[in-house]
Amino acid sequence: MMKMNRRTLLQMSAASVTLSVALPKLAAAQTIDELVIAYNVNLPQWDPTTGPSAVNPTIQGIYQSVFDQYILQQPDLAPAPGILTDWGWNEDRSEVWMDVREGVKWHDGSDLTAEDVAWSLARVAQEETGSPIQFVWGTLANHRVEGNRVIADVAQFDPTIFKWMYFLTGYVLPKAYYERVGPGGFEAAPIGSGPYMVERFERNAFIRLKANPHYWGQKPEFESVTIKFVTDAGSRVAEIESGNSHVTLEVPYEEFDRLKNRAGLGGVAHPVSDIGMIFFNDIDAMLDDNVRKAAVHAVDKQLIIDRLLSGYGVALHTLQTPEYIAFDPTIEVEYNPDLARELLAASGYGPNNPVRFTVQTTRGFKPKDFEMIPAIVGMWRRVGIEAEIEVYEVAKHFELRAADQLAPAAFYNWGNSVGDPTTSTGFAMFGPSPHAVWDGEDLIAKIAPLWGEADEEKRIQGWKDVDRYIAENAYVLPLLQYVQPILHASGVKVVPHTSGALLPHLMTRA
């Protein structure tokens, strides 16, 4: 047995400290064996199907590393065969059917079967599980298995049901394992069928992932991945600059530009399914068509993108981005301050007699959210709109929006990683939705029939028509599509995903 005296102890301590503090430098200098990602948010819980965090879009990338969705979503948002290889409705749309991929294994080596798929769907259809999307999954009932096929009755027709299968909470969980260990056991040791297995999870600190040897898709290139939770943007910049992490995301655009061409580093900036917009509430001055239209025509979106976002953004005219299926490039709302002045004059307003209202915004919730509003207010002032800025926390925004008590104008960002018009224009603009702010009966009447439209072509055209109607009447002010900045070590090739999910299994050695 080693004899320990004071001198040995001090020597060992000194050697250990020297070795330990040298580690950050070594990690940067060597070829990448273990990929280290500095992630921007913490992971609150592992179950991706129930509880409030299951609908948090910022953690879906972690979930998708461990769990498979029913249907795979490709980086351009298009669906592809995943756990389900084929799917559809029967002729009278009273049933859905789904064929389950064979040969898929759970992380514990057991087989993923059609039973797992049926159980996963039936589970989240029950209110008591705490599924936040129960109102969607509950439209299917009587889930049953016939060979390798899952069949369910359609309790209420929803044309987007299969889209939800690659959207929030659309994950397949292991029936036998979950029932054996229970919710607590699952949180402690989650297993899925995704490209990575959870090796270690330290809450608020990091996750260590190990490649799933049984993965049905392409095997991940990096055998081990560590995801560190670094919630401060400045600290994430320091992480990548110091070589402590190989990949990070959501850094300030100025830092992205500073570091993307630096030796040993690279950068990818890709438009994602997240947009900045200003809700108009149907109160006070916003009830005047001319005021709303003037407020829209007075804003030079491209100038905001160029000056405030270093050019990282895509100007929008509707709530659809070019990647969404209902995007219509023919809908354009021109920047025309002269027209804005004319419209205001018609209602008796002008620079000397401005129309006044409040515009609310968050500060620091999204890149340059607060900075954008004074810029817009300045543009409005030139045409005869005097807006008072009110800053609030995003929690307050949610509360006011749910209670339909937002100011006449309120900045917000809207994510729609599935790219369907129901989850952008639909929920944002349909009056009865707690997310909608504009409650005009004319718009409700136009949107209502589209929820259950079975003819896909007709449905998409319907939403395009609604978008055109909204643009013509200026019921909302769409601003821009966000671009996600990703910084990475030059030894890593990152494939960005339009949903904004950072997926380690898509990363390869450069």
């Binding site: 070795l19 503090v21 950050p24 819980q45 409030p52 608020n204 560190k228 401060d232 929690a395 989850t423």
Partner: protein, 335 residues
């Protein structure tokens, strides 16, 4: 006498904690930000909102919610976190050791650095060294801890990357620990590689927390030492031929340290409060970092749990300082 004081303090501590509980409970329910609105998925209906409110007990009156919560606390049940769906007590107690270790290390650094500067400043009083120490104290006091943190990250994490700038321990390291006091346990188990790794992670945040406190200690202790250097027993020690350093350390310091001790106790509570920002900056997995997430998510049960634990800590530290002061001060010790 001492027992009486202790009992009195315990009684006032309980009343303080109850007051804190009431204030926190009411305030976080009155301030803007409805946790249910925060978790609404797209497509949720008014019925969904009602269902969620009932699920989290938010459909009852504030008074009703408070007494349900208080009843749970008495039984050791602080409720369930809304965002993580884990028991609040286990979440909070799981993170508390990390914060305590960080704050304790920061306190050690502050006391050692502040004490050293005070002694050197007293020993070299009237020279440029004392002036330099006064300037350093001024800088230490005027720069807030988070700014020290940023500076340390840039200097010792980026420009000269010799320390870790995020986390508490390297994920690659095996952690054969049974408690969450990693540093303490690694020393006990003689896992010195782990100790070194933990220190390499903790040093920068601890120094950032320690610098302002070190400046306060240095200034106060130096002042107290300078006053003590003129009293009779110190002069007597000098006439016995003792060297100046020995006079300071053996004669002046034990008497001068009492007011500093009280200050250190009070400042330690502020230091624990300071961990909130520093832990965030260094992505350190402590209670402070968790507190920010809880506030962002409007996780009411978790916010309550964290504030109560902080309040317990503060009152315990104050109690400990009072008792230590009573033990060290002969006038109080002998009643």
């Amino acid at each position: 006498m001492l027992v009486q004081r202790l009992l009195m303090r315990l009684a006032t501590t309980l009343v303080t904690l109850l007051g804190v509980a009431v204030i926190v409970f009411v305030v976080i329910r009155v301030v803007p930000g409805n946790p249910i609105a925060m978790m609404l998925p797209p497509g949720a209906t008014a019925a969904d909102i009602d269902r969620l409110r009932a699920l989290y007990g938010l459909d009852k009156s504030i008074a009703e919610q408070f007494f349900i919560w208080l009843g749970g606390v008495v039984r050791g049940d602080f409720g369930t976190s809304i965002s993580t769906r884990q028991p609040v007590l286990s979440l909070v107690l799981g993170r508390l050791p990390a914060t305590l270790e960080l704050a304790t290390l920061a306190l050690f650094i502050a006391v050692a650095l502040g004490g050293l500067l005070a002694v050197i400043g007293t020993r070299r009083r009237g020279t440029r060294t004392e002036a330099a120490i006064d300037v350093a104290n001024g800088v230490g006091l005027s720069v807030p801890d988070f700014l020290w943190g940023l500076l340390l990250i840039i200097l010792l994490g980026v420009v000269w990357p010799v320390f870790f700038i995020s986390g508490r321990v390297s994920p690659q390291l095996d952690l054969p620990v049974v408690t969450n006091f990693y540093l303490f346990e690694s020393v006990i188990r003689l896992r010195l590689d782990l100790t070194a790794n933990l220190l390499a992670h903790m040093l920068l945040p601890a120094v950032a927390l320690a610098l302002p406190l070190a400046a306060i200690i240095a200034q106060l202790l130096k002042q107290a030492l300078k006053e003590t250097m003129h009293v009779d027993y110190v002069t007597l020690a000098r006439t016995r031929g003792y060297g100046e350093t020995r006079v300071i350390l053996r004669e002046a310091l034990p008497n001068a340290v009492l007011p500093t001790l009280t200050l250190v106790g009070v400042q330690f509570t502020f230091l624990i409060g300071g961990t909130v920002i520093i832990e965030r900056l260094f992505s350190y997995e402590g209670l402070g970092n968790m507190a920010i997430d809880a506030v962002i998510n409007r996780d009411l049960p978790l916010i309550q749990g964290i504030v109560i634990v902080f309040a317990v800590l503060f009152t315990l530290v104050n109690l400990l300082v009072d008792l230590t002061y009573a033990l060290l001060n002969p006038r109080l010790r002998h009643g």
